[in-house]
């Protein structure tokens, strides 16, 4: 027993160091996988408040640009309103629309903290559980896709952005309809890549890349970017497709969080698929 105490006394500095490292590294790597605890993220109340105050000070720097972006979106939305259509047929009365049912709802939010140069970049939003945000919802802005909600507290949410290693959003190249997974290599916040595109397809440069809507997180057709370059992958029949993002994440301000009203239905249906026996 005395030897044990002597051992602890002798190595106490190293033991303290060791436990601190273990603690820090476990929180770091477990957060990358799955956010279990709330207390060390920007979604926690104290850090969230600090960041809100900071955002209140700095948000006006981009006011001109975000106003004109909002104005453009308003213009576009206004054009969809019934008032801006001329009525061609009279005598029709709309009672209850049975052809269309609402599938997606959108919650507006503001980015109050963001990084773009780290290997994995997370954005903090000023909306949370109280506003109906849940983990796994998609986030986009008026110019393009942003990411997926990773962690939520009562009034804040952390978004795992497109600028992370394992984002894997289902995307589709228009107009040929090829699809692959969106990746980011950590170097440039304006460029990402798509994996899994086979090189027997002819792809035009600057063709549009949009979300595919396969997993039900994003509706089909949210802009991601444009194809900038095609490089052959050595030793594999694949293209390495470089995408130029349509959104500049360094100056991202206003975003929308997507709620899919039919998500449960889709997940339930897809869970009935029998697992592959051969693998």
């Amino acid at each position: 027993m005395r030897n044990l105490f002597a051992f602890f006394r002798r190595f106490r500095v190293f033991l303290v160091f060791f436990f601190m490292q273990i603690f820090a590294l476990t929180t770091y790597f477990s957060f990358l996988q799955y956010p279990r605890a709330q207390y060390l993220t920007t979604a926690s109340a104290v850090a969230g408040k600090t960041l809100t105050i900071r955002n209140d000070l700095t948000k006006h720097f981009n006011l001109g640009r975000s106003n004109s972006a909002l104005q453009w979106e308003n213009k576009w939305l206004r054009e969809q309103l019934p008032q801006s259509f001329q009525r061609l047929q009279y005598g029709l009365v709309k009672i209850n629309d049975t052809l269309f049912k609402q599938q997606y709802e959108y919650f507006p939010g503001t980015v109050i903290n963001s990084t773009v140069t780290k290997r994995n970049n997370y954005f903090t939003l000023n909306i949370g559980k109280a506003q109906g945000i849940k983990r796994g919802m998609g986030v986009f802005s008026d110019k393009g896709v942003v990411g997926i909600i990773h962690n939520v507290s009562d009034h804040f949410a952390v978004v795992k952005s497109v600028l992370t290693e394992e984002i894997n959003i289902d995307v589709m190249i228009e107009p040929i309809g090829l699809f692959g997974l969106l990746k980011w290599n950590g170097e440039n916040h304006r460029k990402g890549s798509i994996s899994g595109i086979s090189n027997d397809m002819h792809i035009k440069k600057w063709s549009k890349v949009v979300t595919r809507g396969g997993s039900g997180i994003f509706p089909r057709g949210i802009m991601v970017g444009k194809i900038e370059k095609l490089r052959p992958v050595e030793g594999k029949p694949l293209w390495d497709v470089v995408v130029r993002f349509s959104e500049n994440y360094a100056s991202l301000q206003r975003v929308y969080v997507i709620k899919n009203l039919m998500q449960e239905e889709q997940t339930e249906l897809e869970s009935n698929i029998p697992p592959d026996e051969e693998e």
Binding site: V13, V16, F23, A24, T27, L32, Y39, T41, T42, T117
Partner: protein, 171 residues
């Protein structure tokens, strides 16, 4: 000024500066300013390693909580706090450290400061970026980030040091 108050103020200053200002600056090319290692070097010479570790850990965790890094800063800060006594011993002056002085470039000379602080800052940056990226095939990217950030952090630390440490009077 009371020593505890002095270091407490510095602690708050470094945490606020790092978390609220420097972590938001993104210059590209892998440049990232990290200045809080300076606080760990400036702590008194006679301070025990466990106390150093606790201070470094608290500082790292506080910075992490505000910048979505979940323990990266804490891990790097604790590592250099653990290595500080070893490196100080290696570069010790012939007659040991004067407990009235502190580890800044005025008291100990610029050469001493360059060696000890430069080495600690290098270890800190390398460890930080290594954990942040954590892939063997991206080691060149880790080195690029370390080499690009190191001179910027070092220069910024010199400027901050000039602002918070009072120069000794010429004899």
């Amino acid at each position: 000024m009371n020593v505890a108050v002095k270091y407490g103020l510095r602690f708050l200053l470094f945490v606020a500066l790092q978390a609220l200002v420097l972590n938001q600056l993104e210059l590209g090319f892998g440049i990232q300013f990290m200045v809080y290692p300076l606080l760990i070097v400036l702590l008194p010479f006679e301070m025990g390693t466990i106390a150093l570790l606790v201070v470094a850990f608290l500082m790292g965790i506080l910075i992490d909580a505000v910048s979505n890094t979940y323990g990266l800063h804490a891990s790097s800060a604790v590592l250099i706090a653990y290595l500080r006594p070893l490196i100080f011993k290696t570069f010790a002056p012939r007659d040991g450290y004067d407990p009235l002085k502190e580890g800044n470039s005025y008291d100990m000379g610029f050469r001493w400061f360059l060696y000890t602080f430069g080495l600690l800052l290098f270890i800190h940056h390398f460890w930080f970026f290594l954990l942040e990226i954590f892939r063997f095939d991206e080691i060149p990217f880790v080195l690029q980030k370390t080499v690009m950030s190191l001179p910027f952090s070092f220069l910024l630390c010199l400027i901050i040091q000039a602002m918070i440490v009072s120069k000794p009077k010429e004899r």
